[in-house]
Point group: C2
Chain length 103, copies 2
């Protein structure tokens, strides 16, 4: 169930999923809701985070594998987040996602 | 020749190269100078950039392949940059680099 994922984005957030770039909470929720798979498991291989600037924001780079709809062939991916502190937690200002294809 | 690469970093910049995280211009220059290869060619497969915040900064996610020292076996990688505008150009506040290994 991905319907709750939109809560970590804000009105000025931007998301790139493969070649699709959308901005705004409603556009991001719509994009997430219409991704072409039902069940997704993430296997995170690496996660590196940097503080970024004096505002307390964080840059995160994740690499890992997706298991889509119970399939047996994991798909490698990379994802970058820019997280902004707000009210004791963080929201996602930027989310860039790319699959890694074999050559 | 990578000796000039340090100019795009600043004193408060941070770089992660695989499991090594360093901060500061001198530490980054030292890290770049001691990377364990002499010649490196990048083949960029994807490059996505987002504006990030009101300051004009940019988040970039790159995926691609490295060709190391003329070797025939490209190595997939992912790299995230946080670029800050300064004097008509940008410097690198954050640089996170990870190789993508086959499962």
């Amino acid at each position: 169930d991905r319907s709750g994922l939109g809560v970590v984005y804000r009105a000025h957030s931007m998301m790139t999923f493969e070649t699709n770039q959308v901005q705004g909470l409603e556009a991001i929720k719509e994009k997430i809701a219409t991704l072409p798979f039902q069940e997704l498991k993430h296997r995170i291989a690496t996660l590196d985070a940097h503080p970024s600037g004096e505002s307390g924001s964080i840059i995160v780079l994740i690499t890992g594998q997706l298991l889509i709809d119970g399939g047996e062939h994991p798909q490698k991916y990379s994802q970058c987040f820019h997280l902004i502190p707000e009210g004791g937690t963080y929201y996602v200002l930027n989310d860039i996602f790319r699959l890694i294809y074999d050559a």
